[in-house]
Symmetry: C2
Subunit: 331 residues, 2 copies
């Protein structure tokens, strides 16, 4: 008798995912489960799903979708001070479309390699609905050293990495909004902003610095204002933010200066995947020095203060900005 004919599902896994499951704990995807060695560390676990039409657009390139699905999870690991250790993937697809799967798996494998976060296992299922990709990622931190949302203390500096609001502008362009017209003459800026929406650049290079110096941290995924509100609530503190000090990219800055986009839109927009953290004053200089060495721009934007008020964002004149919306919510 011939050997067993592979099912469509098994053939799909063999063709696209086995080649990128190179970690010994993945058992070449030939088993029902993977093994993750903790190596004496705490295993940090985070999970995030992305849905076609909600987190990415139906015509987003499949390689970008793969990178986003993994990187939104890598961003959580970075913010928690954890070193990536691996991930599992569940993929709900309408059809096993080679033209989509090949670049998807290829880019996933590249990111797994470059971030040191190997594919350990997964599940591929059919769906009549939108493509839905769920990633659970694992990291390692020394025992009890995960960085929480809850450690911010009055007097700490509030810091963000990179620039804020670019992804919200990129999404607006992709949806045919006003930002695209405002940047009609500047294709480089349009592409940069779209890239910021489609392919996050998680700050894993900063993880050990976060672990050493941040009193609290989280990644900015649902809007800076809302995420800072969550961090403050978890820490039992408030914060005062100097809005003009929030780091913006050149195009975002120009759009705000020309009053085509309000700063409120940028700080309530999602998909930044930068890190928001708080750092004790005495640690700030060495923190900033470490960040420079890691190649990650960090900017202090305000201070943690006592109290339970919602964090306030002040304009250049010291007036509080009225934020109608602080973050993105699914429901």
């Amino acid at each position: 008798m011939a050997s067993a004919p592979a099912s469509g599902e098994d053939a799909l896994i063999a063709r696209y995912f086995k080649p990128i499951a190179t970690d010994p704990g993945a058992f070449a995807l030939d088993d029902d489960a993977a093994v993750l060695k903790a190596l004496g560390a705490d295993v940090v676990v985070t999970t995030d799903a992305v849905v076609e039409g909600v987190h990415f657009l139906a015509d987003d390139p499949p390689d970008a979708v793969a990178r986003k699905a993994l990187r939104v999870n890598l961003s959580d690991l970075a913010a928690k001070g954890a070193t990536p250790a691996g991930f599992v993937l569940t993929l709900a697809l309408r059809t096993a479309d080679d033209a989509w799967l090949k670049p998807f798996a290829g880019a996933l494998g590249e990111d797994a390699k470059s971030y040191g976060c190997p594919l350990l296992g997964g599940d591929t299922v059919s769906t009549p609905g939108p493509i839905t990709i769920s990633v659970t990622a694992f990291g390692r931190v020394p025992a009890d050293k995960m960085v929480h949302r809850s450690g911010a203390r009055p007097g700490d500096r509030v810091v963000v990495t990179g620039t804020i609001g670019d992804a919200a502008l990129g999404l607006d362009i992709l949806k045919g909004g006003a930002v695209g017209s405002a940047l009609a003459g500047d294709e480089a800026a349009r592409q940069m902003l779209i890239g910021r929406y489609r392919v996050p650049q998680p700050r894993n290079a900063l993880a050990s610095t976060i672990r050493m110096y941040a009193s609290a941290a989280m990644d900015v995924s649902d809007g800076l204002a809302g995420d800072l509100t969550k961090l403050c609530a978890a820490s039992g503190v408030s914060a005062a933010i100097h809005a003009p000090g929030i780091p913006l990219s050149r195009p975002a800055s120009a759009l705000v200066a020309s009053r085509k986009v309000a700063i409120e839109t940028l700080i309530a927009g999602g998909d930044d995947y930068e890190i928001l953290c708080t750092v004790h004053g005495v640690d700030f200089e060495v923190f900033a020095q470490d960040a420079r060495k890691a190649g990650v721009p960090v900017t202090p934007i305000g201070a943690v203060i006592a109290g339970s008020a919602i964090p306030s964002f002040m304009d250049a004149q010291g007036r509080e900005l009225l934020l109608k919306r602080r973050s993105w919510s699914h429901f």
Copy 2:
């Protein structure tokens, strides 16, 4: 100022999932990640997604859906010899419907407690499509002691737990197929079979016995014939199965005896969530004794043989059954 208004998503998590996230490593779902302590063991990781209309039916009760989503993963941990350690959940919903979420979360919490597998974290997202639930579950095994698919050796006995094919019959009843009419007078049998489809009974009680005595193991989720084919391929062996010895429930047995259902249908049907394992001859008696103590019925159904042929299923006259289909595949 008032405290921060919770978003719909945060309110949903606070109302339904925080109460069941009692493990200290879940940080009351107030953080971006969870911590799993390996306690010196290997962490076994498995992930399975269930999709409305594919793995469960739109009118399946939400409590049954929750149990199935978790238990299909618990079944993998059992087959790998692992003790449950926790799970994360991603939930893609069209709306935040209290009438669905309350029984869903309630049943999930009950199962988490009774199987010792606490909710560690998750992600709740909106979808325009079918409800999609992805669970990643973790277990612990002593270092390098996970039970693989690949350890079966010629001469080993092939063993299954419980009974085979009931879930396939239950699904046929729910879909209005011929099985329902054949059992028109026997509501108890109909309900039992439907229950076997909707709510698997994973064999976690047998995990340590599997770890001690099984040379290879996997759970039967896509059909006994196909899953045995996979186990044999991974082990580089074949198997000869005595089909009349395959354990069937009373209704399944009656349907086969009256020729209303073919045994082929039962061994190619999915959703059994029993354990298929191989046990060396000298270990079989003590394995069976341990299983009895654990309260899990085990039945030897054949033998592992040398070769690379697809496993054969023989009828009472020793003739090989012709299997047109061996298992369920999504694509």
